[in-house]
């Protein structure tokens, strides 16, 4: 199992390391199941959620089987044990993301809640009419709608940087749109609909020069790229465990300490207070201030196991292997007649979005599903992206490090079959 033994590497002639994909696949029990009457599962819907390796499943099972207790409360043995595991997980997440301290890591329900936290705590308190929030036209709805809502609440203006025909950010437009009125730039690190990797570090530097804060939606980057928030220079970074081979129900908000310290609570309840009387209450320090109620303890421990797993496989090895898969899929699917690739940015990660002339993406998805190939067909919660390209939906194949070149070939065969069915 990978968690105990490093992935075997053998040298290739050009010096790159050979990735032992069969070995990592063996760690994911679900990958050996069949679907639709006996077809091997070809799971290419990783941008929606990733599959879970055995160490993650075992960590959650072990917690409930042996260690379950509430945290930060009990004086008893189990509670102390659970609290220690929970706090260690926070340290682990901080190291994984390159945060300066575990106090900068807030656990949330997911990326969506992390972004809403910043919108309703920081933005709602600090924005005034005349201020602007700048987003991009390629954002997931989770990084659009919370800002639209807080703009309605505060009278601030909401502006979206357009994207080019390749699905890259229009950097000239960005230069024009980032002004002294901009209070926050909210940008996706990797687009879930297009796969575009945005130049977050450069954008953050430009935004900071104008005095704006920067929030990075890292839901799609954390599973694929080496993320270091200090290097990116962002003020907030949000991601979800379930896309990172961990459980659903937990996500992370990284926030720079000095900013978190000045933010008011968003939700209130137990665990987020310092002192409560019937007259008034005072707030705990971050991150507790933003974690009212019992957190998803087992899930946080599952997330820590997922991070261990990813680091054992190696984030650079993951990025390299996925890059090869994406290149193969882009070449083979892109060469099929009638295919139009949506999102052809020079820097991409993990996602191949396309449409087939004359065939609705849902029909392509159903034919692929009949072959055991799981993809997403739809607007991917990025309707402005669909509007930008004048299409109702795309077929999206999204990759993880446990996918194989053979599975890309299955995808290609399925797309060819869809063309035959609807010709």
């Amino acid at each position: 199992m990978v968690s105990t033994t490093p992935v075997t590497s053998t040298s290739r002639s050009h010096g790159a390391e050979l990735f032992d994909v069969q070995r990592v696949r063996a760690d994911f029990p679900i990958l050996s199941r069949t679907v639709r009457g006996g077809r091997p599962l070809v799971y290419l819907d990783n941008a929606a959620t990733s599959q879970k390796p055995r160490p993650v499943i075992d960590a959650i099972s072990r917690f409930y089987g042996c260690d379950n207790a509430n945290i930060h409360r009990g004086l008893h043995y189990l509670s102390e044990h659970a609290t220690a595991a929970f706090d260690a997980a926070r340290e682990k997440v901080a190291r994984f993301l390159g945060a300066g301290s575990a106090r900068e890591i807030v656990f949330t329900r997911g990326t969506t809640e992390a972004i809403n936290l910043v919108a309703q705590s920081w933005a709602r308190t600090n924005l005034r009419p005349g201020d602007e929030i700048l987003v991009t036209a390629m954002e997931h709805h989770a990084n659009l709608v919370p800002w639209q809502l807080v703009c309605e609440q505060t009278g601030a203006a909401f502006r979206a940087i357009p994207i080019t025909d390749r699905g890259e950010l229009d950097l000239d437009a960005f230069e024009r749109m980032i002004t002294d009125r901009t209070r926050l730039l909210a940008v996706g690190h990797v687009s879930n609909a297009l796969g575009t990797v945005n130049p977050v570090r450069e954008l953050a530097a430009r935004a900071h020069a104008r005095g704006a804060l920067v929030l990075v939606d890292g839901a799609q980057s954390a599973p694929h790229l080496r993320v270091d928030v200090s290097e990116l220079g962002c003020d907030f970074f949000a991601c979800s465990a379930h896309k990172l081979f961990g459980p659903t129900g937990v996500g992370v908000l990284y926030g720079r300490k000095v900013i978190l310290d000045a933010m008011p609570p968003w939700q209130a309840g137990g665990d987020m207070i310092e002192r409560v009387t019937l007259e008034r209450s005072t707030w705990a320090q971050p991150p507790a201030r933003f974690e009212a109620g019992t957190p998803p303890i087992a899930e946080v421990i599952g997330l820590a196991a997922a991070i261990d797993y990813v680091e054992t496989v190696g984030r650079d090895a993951i990025a390299r292997w996925e890059g090869e898969l994406l290149a193969r899929a882009t070449d083979l699917v892109g060469a099929l007649p009638g295919v139009r690739l949506i999102g052809t940015a020079r820097e991409k990660a993990g996602v191949l979005s396309f449409v087939l002339e004359g065939i609705h993406p849902h029909d392509v998805g159903t034919v692929l599903d009949d072959e055991g190939v799981a993809v997403r067909a739809g607007h991917h919660c990025a309707q402005p992206v669909m509007q930008r390209f004048g299409i109702p939906a795309t077929v999206r194949a999204s990759f993880a490090f446990y996918n194989t070149p053979n599975e890309i070939d299955e995808l290609v065969r399925g797309v060819e079959r869809a063309r035959k069915v609807f010709s």
Partner: protein, 150 residues
């Protein structure tokens, strides 16, 4: 027949390629819009009524093969029927595509080609959206779009 072939029967594929009544009725008495926010399908249904009888019906919109063929076959089937007959046909059709009620396919005429839909729960809404939209148009020419998630 495999379940995929059962879903995409030839009649459905043919109506997807060449949908009937795919046009605007300029002097429509009623019109309604249907949306499926989950998948982005959208269509408009136009009606010309003669008392209680559907004299003409048409549609336009964006959607998958199932929703396009369903709209096309629907317009062909309900033309000339009374509101009540059309509504009853919808009920039987809904029973067929959801698989919730045993509907004898022969009572559905050409619409029986949608019998394969019930094996694909996520596609039921594709087949039923045009009918929900027709029903809204029949009821009050719905000023606000119909949204269906079923």
């Amino acid at each position: 027949m495999s379940s995929l072939a059962e879903l995409y029967q030839n009649v459905i594929l043919e109506h997807n390629r060449s949908p009937r009544n795919y046009r605007v009725i300029a002097e429509a008495d009623r019109q309604a819009e249907g949306n499926n926010p989950l998948c982005g399908d959208q269509l408009t249904v136009w009606l010309k009524l003669d008392g209680d009888v559907i004299r003409d019906v048409s549609f336009q919109g964006l959607g998958c093969a199932i929703s396009r063929a369903s709209a096309s076959l629907m317009t062909a089937e309900v033309k000339g029927k009374t509101r009540r007959e059309a509504t009853e046909l919808f009920e039987r059709f809904r029973g067929l595509v959801t698989g919730e009620t045993a509907t004898a396919p022969e009572t559905l005429g050409k619409l029986a080609v949608f019998s394969g839909v019930s094996a694909y729960p996520t596609r039921v809404k594709c087949a039923s959206l045009p009918w929900h939209t027709l029903k809204a148009a029949l009821e009050d020419g719905a000023p606000t779009p119909v949204t269906t998630l079923e």
